[in-house]
Symmetry: C2
Subunit: 192 residues, 2 copies
DNA sequence: GTGCATACAGACAGGTCTGTCTATCTCTCG
DNA sequence: CGAGAGATAGACAGACCTGTCTGTATGCAC
């Protein structure tokens, strides 16, 4: 039962804490998981956590921040090897892959927003910035695809992205494929 | 700032409790809000809550159940006065209206799913059934619209619905309009 | 009026959670 | 060797939360 020492003990306590927080917060939620669970999973002392992060909210923010950074670099790497005009659809290939991956459990950012009702929570501010970043990329790719209303299409792709993740969490990865199929319609044949 | 007695005291304590639970759970989350908050807002006694609902989880389930029933009748009433082939798009008109309403704060079911990591929680079972109901309606309407791949279109509409609500919660109601616009494209120009 | 169902009021127990603090250990650098 | 940085271990305070229990008040049926 006890999912124990996944991160070896010589990696530095900060990374160990972040790894444990990531595992537990993502699979069970930031409010369901208490500090003590993170400490046990990281095999770390409480003082270490508070020395490195100050409070639980900052640990949550650091968890979200690391997720955001990983997502940005993953996405940019994923679309890099196709021409700009194909990148929007390629992005949805990544979404499908993510939704199909074994440990997929929905969007950590959507979860954090739902769990933390305070809009000023540091983790929520990070999540809000990430939405802007994604919308920026989608807009850029929609323009490159030469669709007739790039801003509207970018907004629609944003909806498809959010919907793909939220729906795939409940109904399985086929919803991500439905989203990709829809994106293809938005981007594809209509040259006008 | 204490939002006090919104429901008059002669409506029956069960309804008062449900009204208070609905307000607080929807705006702040089912885990953020404790029993005592609900009791104070409902102007009720703790014994009444436990006599009527047994435990907090069942109160949460009753809250979700009431939301679900209200949504079903609202949706069916909303699409009733257009022909079947126009109902899918009409459904997204309702989504737009909901996202534009003043107290819109996202989908209560998505929030409950994010907040309660236990898939067997009674509230989550109710939420899961509601998804099936919605998908059923969308499939029915997609068929009536005579699209070429009704199941696929229904799945895509489900994604658009989830995405509209999730994205509108963050970005405002324009995302719901983006979703409607996309649905229009999926359902084809010939309509009305 | 008596009895009963329903509701209010609130104390209380038991648990959990965050955050602080003290004490100890270990490793590295000088 | 010795000092200090960084870590562990865990007790503890204070807050909060769920659920139980006792006692009291109100209103209705008979």
């Amino acid at each position: 039962m006890p999912a124990k020492p996944v991160t070896p003990r010589d990696v530095g306590v900060r990374d160990r804490l972040l790894d444990a927080a990531d595992r537990l917060f993502y699979t069970e939620g930031v409010r369901s998981v208490g500090i003590d669970r993170v400490l046990a999973d990281a095999d770390a002392a409480k003082a270490s956590l508070y020395a490195h992060f100050g409070c639980k909210d900052e640990l949550v923010a650091a968890y979200v921040q690391r997720r955001v950074e990983a997502a940005r670099s993953t996405i940019d790497r994923f679309v890099r090897d196709v021409p700009p005009r194909a990148r929007a659809l390629r992005f949805f290939d990544w979404v499908v892959e993510w939704a199909e991956s074994a440990d997929f459990r929905g969007c950590p950012l959507q979860h954090v927003v739902a769990e933390l009702s305070d809009e000023k929570h540091p983790a929520r501010l990070i999540a809000a910035r990430q939405r802007e970043w994604i919308l920026g990329r989608l807009t850029e790719w929609a323009r490159a695809a030469e669709v007739s209303h790039p801003n509207r299409v970018a907004g629609a792709l944003m909806v498809l992205f959010d919907g793909a993740i939220a729906a795939a969490e409940q109904d399985g990865p086929k919803r991500a494929r439905d989203a990709r199929w829809t994106a293809e319609k938005l981007l594809g044949a209509p040259r006008r």
